[in-house]
Amino acid sequence: MIIKRLATALLVMFFASFLSFSLLYLAPGNVAEAVLKEQLGFEPTEDEIVAFMTRYKLDKPFFIQYYIWLRLFVTGKLICPQTGESVTGEFLYRFPVTLSLAFSAVAFAACFGIPLGIVSAIRRNSIIDSICRVIASVGVSIPSFWLALLLILFFCVKLRILPVFGLGLKNLILPTIALGLHLFASITRVTRGSMLEVLSQHYILVSRAKGLPEKMVILRHGLRNAVIPVITLIGLQFGHLLGGTVIIESIFSLPGIGKFLMDSIFARDYIAVSAFVMFIAFLFVIVNLIVDVLYTILDPRVRVE
C-alpha cells in the first residue's frame, strides 16, 4: 500500500511540475527582455535578446525547455534572477519561518479545538455546547486577513502589549491565531460530530458497563476513535493553511515562503514563482503521505485493507 501511495505521489509531483512550468512558459512578456533590462539598466537590442535566448536555451521547444527546467530544479541549480541565489537556497532559508507558523497554527487549533469539541459533545445541547457551535460557525466564516487586522488593531494599537513586526516568539502569537482560527473552528466541529457518533457505539456502553471511570471511557475509548476524522481534516486543511500563510505573512511581514511568493509575483520573477509552486505542491504531497501513515498507526483497521 505504501508503495502504491508513493507511486501516486510521484505521478502527482510530475503533473505538478508540468503545470508549474506551463505557467512559467505561458507567462506574458519576454523573460529575456525583462532580465536583460534589469541587468543592463536600459532597453536591450534585438541581437542581445536573441543571444540571451540562445544562451539560456529559451529558443528551444516547450518540452526541451521543460526538461532543462526540471533538471535544474531537481539538482537545485535553478537560479532566481531577483536575488541571484538558487531557488532551493531561497526556499530552505524561508521554510523554517513558514513551518513554525503552520505548526503553531495547527498546535493552537488542535489544543483548543479538540478539548472544546469533546466538552461540547459530552454536554450536548447545554449552554456550553451552544457557545461552542456558535464559535465554530463564526470561526470558519471570519476572513483570516480581517481577523489579523482586528488583532493588530486591538493588541498592538489599542493595548500596545504585542509588537506587530519582527521575529520572535511574541511576534508569532497574533499570526498563529489569525491563521489557526479557521482550522480551530473546523476541528471543534468535527471533534464534536465524531465524538457524538463514537459515544453512541456499543463498545462505549460496554466499557461503562464494566465500570470504567468516565474519564477513561471518554479519553481512552472515545477520543482515540473520534480523533481519526480530525487527523484527516488537518491533512486536508493543510493546503488552506499554506494558502493562508501567503496572506498572513504579507500582513505581518514574516519572511516565509508565502511572503517570498508574493514578492516574486510583484517583482515579476516567474522562475522563483514556478519553483515555489513546486515546493508548495511537494510539501502538500508529503503532508498527505504523513497523514496516511498516521492513519495506520491510529486506526489498525486500515492496515488490514
Partner: protein
Amino acid sequence: MMKIVKMRANTAMVLVLVFLGLFSPVISPYDPNELNLKDRLMHPCVEHPFGTDNFGRDALSRVLHGARISLFVAMSVVALTTFAGICFGIIAGYYGGIVDNAIMRIVDSLLAFPNIILAIVILGIFGPSYLNLVLSLAAVWWVSYARIVRGVVLSLKEAEFILSAKALGAGNLQIMAKHILPNALSPILPLMTLDLGSAILAISGLGFLGLGLQPPTPEWGVMLRDALPFMETHPYLMIFPGFMIMVSVLAFNMLGDSLRDALDPTLKLGSKI
C-alpha cells in the same frame, strides 16, 4: 420542525444578502465611486453612517455595492466550477477506462495545489481581471465536483433504469443528460452553497492582496486594502467590509450545512442535531 425553522432562517439570511446585491444601486444613498475630496475621511455621522474614505466616497454605499460585486463574482465562479465539474465527472464515470484514468489523474494532481496558491500565481502571472479571477478559482475548484459526480455516475451506471433507457435506444448523450445528470445534482447542491461562501472569502482575500478586482471597484477585499493606511485613525473603514464578508460567508455556510443535512440524512457531521 426545528430543522425547518432553522433552514428558513438560513435561507432568509441569504435572501437578505441577495436583496442587498440586487438593489444596492437603489438603496445606497450615494454613488459608490463618487469622489468628494472636501469630505474625505469623515467620521460616521448622519449623512454618512459608515463615514467616508480617503477619497471622500461614502463607505456605506461602497459596502452595499460590495454585496453586489461579491455575489456576482462568487456566482460566476460557482457556475463555471459546477459546469466543468459535472461535465468532467459524468464523462469520467460514464466512459471509464482510459478517459476516466486520465481525468482522475488530472484531478489528483490539481488536488496537490492548495487552491488559493494556484489562483494567486495565475493572477500574478496573467494579471488581475474579472475573467482571470473567475478562471483561476474555477481552475482548481471543479475537481471536487468532478469527484462527487463521478462517484454518483459509477453507482448509477449499472442501474436498471439506465439499462432500460439503453434498451429503448437512448444515445449516450441522452442518457448522460436526462437520466444521470438529475441524480448527480442533489449531492452537489450543498457543496455549491458552501462554495459560494468560500468563493466570497477567496475573492476578498485576493482583492486584499491586490491580485483580485482592482480599485476603485467597491469590493470588500479591495476596500480593506484601501483602509489599511487609516487603520489607526479610522478603524471602521476596515471593520464594516470585513464584517460583511463574515456575515455573507456565514449565511452561505449555514444554508449549505442545513441543505446537506436535509439531502443526506446518513451523513453525520457536527452541524447535525
